[in-house]
Amino acid sequence: MMHSRNYQIFSVIFKERFREPTLEFIIPLMFTSDVFINAFYERGNFTIYGVILAFIPLISVSETIAFALALRNIIFVTGDHIYRGSIISFLTLPIKRINLFFMIYFSDVIAPYIMWLTTTEAFIMLSGIPVPQYLILIYTIGYFFTENIILSIALTFKSAGIATLLSSFIIGVIFIFGGMLNYYELIQGSHMLGITSSLNPYVLLLYETVNRKSLPCIYEGLVMEVMIALLTFVFSINRFRRLEI
């Protein structure tokens, strides 16, 4: 069976990232670790509060796996190729550089996201728990926000060690200190919540469910996250097009 040339190149790129036992391990692991949605829902007296707790990254195992898989793909596969210069063999393939970038981006970032989305939605459907769909949307935006930041760091600094340390430091600072900042903003009266809610919207979600109030500034934060994600994406496209080995 003959496939088109683009498909063959894509399958080479994809198979390099997901070798034989990776998908067989990752997809069932993601699915089974969604059991924590049930456990938190039960623990939280069958309220939305427990479901939101179960969807916080680092507490939710499947979200963390998706994030870590994409981080490994970006830094230790693509970044390593660029650092060692073995990306040249891909660049010499008869394909435009921008198409090559989209193929790499798809197999690095979008493929783990699709795995997470399908397993989580299937689990929600089978378990019958009323999960509000904005949780999925918030994680989606946050996922692309962080992965695009990591991609632009990896394309700028190239070395795997520096990229790992710097990206984990930056993402950790954004998530943890952003959460603390939101917490103090909520306690001491909100003036900057529209800006800080982009750093960690989960604190505001928990506040909303506990106090039965609605905070419209979450949407401002989400819009800001989308803007930053788009900016870093365009930045990394430009970096990749002008890449010199």
Partner: protein, 171 residues
């Protein structure tokens, strides 16, 4: 790749649809405002309504769909699928009042007026919730899948088809 994936997904679906979370969970909720809880069909919950006061008689109304019952704690009920509301129907308790009374005593030529405080009790029946009742929820077990049969059937189909694919490759 597709064979291994089908096999692992099938085993996972079958095992998840057979398993359930069985570690018991206790939660105690104080009810003064109406307390509303929605139970999913996957959970088995036993609720115990009780109060801590000896001289207060509390009646609690339990509403579930069209079913409504007025009970006196302590009371044990198994909660089935759906929305349950616990609210206080009425409370009866003795209340002590103090009253100051002027007492006039006439003795020979002098009149003595003394003030005296009398306390007396009255039985009060209100619908206001002055004393809370407690609802102790005991989650006995919770199934992981609501649609267990679908999970089992899908898992079995996946395992069988992966075995079939292995055999087809082999022979």
């Amino acid at each position: 790749m597709i064979r291994g994936l089908l096999l692992s997904l099938g085993i996972m679906l079958i095992s998840l649809s057979l398993l359930s979370i069985t570690s018991p969970i206790y939660n105690t909720v104080g009810v003064s405002k109406p307390y509303c809880i929605s139970i999913p069909s996957t959970a088995k919950v036993i609720a115990t309504v009780y109060d801590n006061f000896t001289n207060v008689t509390i009646y609690v109304r339990i509403i579930h769909g069209n079913y409504s019952e007025i009970v006196r704690p302590p009371y044990v009920i198994t909660l089935t699928n759906g929305k349950w509301i616990f609210e206080i129907y009425n409370e009866t308790y003795p209340e002590t009042f103090f009253k100051t009374v002027n007492e006039t005593i006439i003795r020979k030529n002098e009149i003595i007026i003394t003030q005296k405080t009398i306390n007396f009790t009255r039985i009060v029946t209100t619908t206001n919730a002055t004393y809370p009742v407690y609802v102790k929820l005991y989650v006995k077990c919770m199934r992981i899948f609501k649609f267990q049969e679908i999970g089992e059937i899908l898992g079995a189909i996946m395992v069988i088809s992966s075995v079939f694919l292995y055999l087809r490759k082999r022979f």
